[in-house]
């Protein structure tokens, strides 16, 4: 993997040099934070204001009293930092990985870049920026659209993953080919690692397409097992989060290249209801055909995911089925729903106890 060196712009003569020097001096006064990475090299994570911070109270004011009251409230409280939201631990973990990457590759721009992507009004933005500063979060880029949906800007900021509380915006993003998920706070808080980013993924309709899920829903488990055995050597099609796993893998390999495999600050998990014996092989072979590694693959054969996730303690867990999201949340895992595929038709709005012991 090549390293990309950051280039400074060439001086433009004496006056230009003086100006550049003054500018640099001013920059140093303001902050000793490193420059944010160039978007084309970075892994860009866009988070909404309500995933980054807990805005439940404020949201209620917006819903009950309207926009003007909500903005006025935020302005009146703009020097009070907001409490952390569901994406907060994930963002802190991304910053930890960046710190390790910068140690090993001081000039590289292959880092996480966290962008605040919100349809909040810019006047509310002052409180958001104050809160970001309060927690010393490295969020240097943002987009406050003052009402319009921000999903149009995701591509302009070269977003690799978008997290929001608004499932409509998330669906829009997925339709545009951008990995996205709707975040849910956990019911209680598990203690998470502060040295390693841990990300858990469901398999079908998250990393992979929903083609196999369709077979289960339409043909039942036995049909599914037969099909998977028959097509074991045919890779599954990609799902919406595949590219994000790929981006994580690229960063992981940077640590391996410096002999840091045992101490790698990124760890990925596959948590699937498939069973290893009957349908697991196809999944592993698909990952291999994509050149992707996953650190731990856990086949539950239909058992609930909650208890296992409680042990894994990921900073985020992606699944396409609300049933699994709820199960994870109840036992302390911060979860992110991927509204993709056939699973949406079956689980819409209801927490159904799945009759088939599959997914």
């Amino acid at each position: 993997m090549s390293e990309i060196k950051a280039k400074d712009s060439a001086p433009t003569g004496d006056a230009g040099e003086e100006k550049d020097a003054a500018k640099a001096h001013f920059d140093n006064l303001k902050t000793n934070k490193p420059r944010p990475p160039k978007p084309q090299y970075a892994v860009t994570i866009a988070v909404s204001s309500r995933t980054l911070f807990n805005m439940v109270t404020e949201r209620k004011i917006y819903e009950d009293q309207g926009l003007e009251e909500y903005v006025a409230y935020q302005r009146d409280h703009e020097n009070e930092p907001l409490m952390p939201g569901p994406a907060f631990p994930f963002v802190k973990a991304l910053m930890t990985v960046n710190a390790r990457l910068r140690q090993l590759y001081p000039d590289s721009e292959e880092l996480f870049d966290i962008v605040l992507m919100t349809n909040n009004h810019a006047q509310v933005g002052v409180r958001l920026i104050n809160s970001i500063n309060h927690y010393d979060l490295t969020i240097e880029r943002f987009c406050m659209t003052g009402g319009e949906s921000p999903t149009g800007y995701l591509e302009a900021y070269m977003t690799n993953l978008y997290l929001s509380k608004d499932s409509e915006k998330v669906s829009e993003a997925i339709e545009e080919g951008i990995a996205a998920a709707t975040m849910f706070m956990a019911v209680k808080e598990n203690e998470l690692s502060d040295t390693q980013l841990r990300v858990a993924f469901d398999g079908d309709a998250v990393l992979f397409s929903d083609e196999s899920e369709i077979i289960v829903k339409e043909g039942g488990l036995d049909t599914f097992f037969e099909h998977e055995k028959k097509f074991e050597n045919t890779p599954l099609a990609q799902g919406p989060l595949k590219c994000f796993l790929e981006a994580l893998g690229k960063l992981q390999r940077k640590f391996y290249a410096k002999n840091e495999r045992l101490n790698c600050p990124i760890r990925t998990f596959l948590v699937t209801a498939r069973s290893a014996a009957s349908s697991g092989a196809r999944v592993l072979k698909t990952l291999r055909s994509w050149g992707l590694e996953i650190d731990e693959a856990l086949f539950l054969a239909g058992a609930p995911k909650g208890p296992l996730l409680q042990k894994i303690k990921p900073h985020i867990f992606f699944d396409d089925q609300m049933f699994h999201i709820e199960g994870a949340r109840e036992l302390g895992t911060i979860s992110a729903h991927v509204p993709y595929g056939i699973g949406q038709k079956y689980n819409k709005g209801k927490l159904i106890e799945s009759p088939a012991k599959k997914k």
């Binding site: 003054a22 500018k23 303001k30 006047q123 969020i139 240097e140 943002f142 003052g146 302009a156």
Partner: protein, 254 residues
Amino acid sequence: MVSTVQNTDVKQKDADRALVVAVTTRAVFDAAAGDVYGMGVAFPLLQSLQKVNERLLEKNPAESLLFDVVLIATDSQQQSSRIISSTSHYGLEVGRFCFSSREDLVETLVVNNVQLFLSTDRDEALQVSQKGVLSALLGRQEAPSESLRVMLCGDAIVRPDCDPVPASRGAAQSFSARLGEMRGRFGVSGSPLSIVLVTSSGGSKSCGVALQTLRSRGLSVDEAYCLAGAPRGPILSLLRPHFLLGDGVIDLED
């Protein structure tokens, strides 16, 4: 030789209170097919300015803080009579016409108390701004947007020593204050006028400083985009402002 003609079709604005915006006729009108000129690049802008005035007067029929549009012709190829008749044809709310020359342009602007000069000619706009009159290049709106979108570049607000055109800084600040007053007539949503702040360099902290500085000068920003070194092009093409202030005179296509 400068001549000024008042537009008798339109009620004249209060000279002390109106926000005078001058636009070149070259930007408003395209080559004539017949007696009437075609619609030029500045057409959507004029329509948006008009809409703001309409909404202001709806709220308060006695409102005096309105946009006062002046058309400036320095192009001898455009006929004065055609300019006036085309303006009437399209029902444009233009207060007056100034028939001037390239050499007399700045003087014409000053004499007419122009607070903002808009052009499609980069050299012209730069020359004017260096003489202390606030100037900006027009964006190329593809479709008329619902509101007048004014974009401010925040970098010069946070770092005044890096202001590329210090001569017009005073004019920029007073224009912002008046614009802020106008924006304040409307609520958070549904405003016919949107103020968009973009900072190109500097992180979220400095954009926050720009937001608060503008607020202290009476200008409440609606949308804010902090690029922190990310390429501007993709964002600008989405934001589609009618014009961009505070960045010297840059081309919106850059």
